[in-house]
């Protein structure tokens, strides 16, 4: 990239933003140079996470939420993550298909990302892609996770406000009490609310929230109904996002969250770097020999790992 890339990125030039995201996705020295240069221009965007099971309507909801912010004049960046095939390494990224209302609007930037092997609901480079959009002046950055099950909770560490999207008829009240994804919601959304089972789902979610003892100044996630295909209920969702932001801004909660986020990110980067160094240092043929021995039940994995690292 040319030497004036940072200026052009900060002006929101789509070509430069797109290339920068590709570079951070690829990783390595270029990625580091880019993040190091733009880091001081980040920290301005309100980062919204949207998660939930496949087919609950996340992309359609993101499309509607983005339209609301556009009407208020905010520029909106979207990172939509879909899974990479564990077999071919390829991916079908189809979230954009539901966001066609946003095309032709220069104030919106949509980027599809494949997980490229990372678990947890996001790609390894999602956090860096968000930083690129943040530095490029997008006031709202929406992250849409892969279709999530119960345990894909990385989004909570990456977003200021997390929306968990449910569809009616997906489970009873015991599902609602289970640990994991239900716990990370700042807003709970029952989409496809025109479906018969919507009220039962709302009731199950409310019941779960009522089981928790009330603490003073605690955030109680609202349970909201939407029909994303018509936009019904989305204005209320945006209103609650605003309330959550205001909640975070009182009593230094935002700083606390940022610190937790920074710690998690630092640990992750250190972990990745250590693994990379380790892989470089490890002898491939030695690993293969140990794999053979484990498969032949001659040695257990713990002893094998000890042999590699010791």
């Amino acid at each position: 990239m040319n030497s004036d890339w940072l200026e052009r990125l900060r002006a929101g030039e789509p070509r430069v933003v797109a290339r920068a995201i590709s570079a951070v996705e690829r990783g390595g020295a270029d990625a580091r140079t880019i993040i190091t240069a733009l880091f001081r221009f980040t920290g301005r965007a309100h980062i919204l996470g949207v998660t939930g099971a496949p087919g609950t309507g996340k992309s359609t909801l993101v499309n509607e939420i983005a339209k609301h912010y556009r009407r208020r004049g905010h520029r909106v960046g979207i990172v939509a993550v879909d899974p990479t095939s564990p077999f071919s390494g390829g991916a079908l990224l189809g979230d954009r298909l539901r966001m066609q209302d946003l095309s032709g609007d220069g104030g919106v930037f949509i980027r599809s990302m494949a997980t490229r092997g990372s678990l947890g609901g996001l790609a390894a480079a999602t956090a860096d892609a968000v930083k690129v959009l943040d530095a490029a002046g997008f006031a709202i950055v929406l992250i849409e996770t892969v279709g999530a099950g119960q345990n894909e909770v990385d989004i909570a560490r990456n977003a200021h406000t997390t929306l968990v999207v449910e569809a009616p008829g997906m489970g009873d009240d015991i599902q609602a009490i289970k640990a994991g994804i239900m716990e990370i919601a700042d807003l709970l959304i029952v989409n496809k609310a025109d479906h018969d089972a919507a009220n039962a789902t709302m009731a199950a979610l409310e019941m779960n929230l009522n089981l928790k003892p009330k603490l003073e100044n605690d955030w109680r996630p609202p349970v909201l109904k939407t029909i994303a295909t018509t936009g019904e209920g989305v204005a209320t969702v945006v209103e609650w996002i605003g309330k959550h932001r205001a909640y975070l801004e009182t009593n230094r909660r935002l700083e606390t969250r940022e610190r937790a986020r920074a710690r998690a990110e630092l640990e992750l980067v250190v972990q990745r770097e250590l693994m990379a160094r380790l892989r470089r240092g490890l002898n491939g043929t030695r690993i293969e020999a140990l794999v053979e021995q484990i498969a032949a039940r001659q040695v257990d994995v713990y002893t094998a790992a000890e042999k590699l690292l010791g």
Partner: protein
């Protein structure tokens, strides 16, 4: 630094009613290890170019059945040029009369794949084209 997966935008310009063929190709390219951004039917030239720009794709694959390629393809090429995406590999498929193929290639399309083309051939073609472009860029 590892080579990034090939990113392909698969889109259908014009008013075709179904996208079965495009889906078959999208699925095949996925299985060939590519990242396919699928935008489906009724895409305008502007939408296609905008998606190609934001997604930083290596390849744009267009599928068209209606015969409107004579009108739409030049407009898509023009839009891509305007966004300085001249280095993107352009391929197309669908129902395209043989007589039109020279003009389409002249326009800048690297490959035209008619009915009956094996999806493996399409994937191999794309891989070779992208390897050539990437080689040229780093050289």
């Amino acid at each position: 630094m590892s080579e990034r997966p090939i990113r392909v935008l698969v889109a259908k310009p014009g008013l075709d009613g179904h996208d079965r063929g495009a889906k078959v190709v999208a699925r095949a390219l996925r299985d060939a290890g590519m990242e396919v951004i699928y935008t489906g039917i009724r895409q305008t030239p502007e939408m296609i170019a905008e998606a190609a720009l934001q997604e930083d794709v290596d390849v744009v694959g267009l599928s068209i059945l209606s015969g409107a390629h004579r009108d739409l393809f030049p407009r898509i090429v023009e839009q891509l040029k305007q966004k300085q995406l001249d280095d993107v590999v352009l391929v197309c498929g669908g129902i395209i009369p043989d007589d039109d193929i020279p003009a389409i290639k002249q326009m800048g399309f690297a490959g035209v794949f008619g009915p009956g083309t094996s999806t493996q051939d399409i994937a191999a073609f794309i891989r070779a084209q992208v390897a050539r472009k990437r080689g040229a860029r780093t050289a």
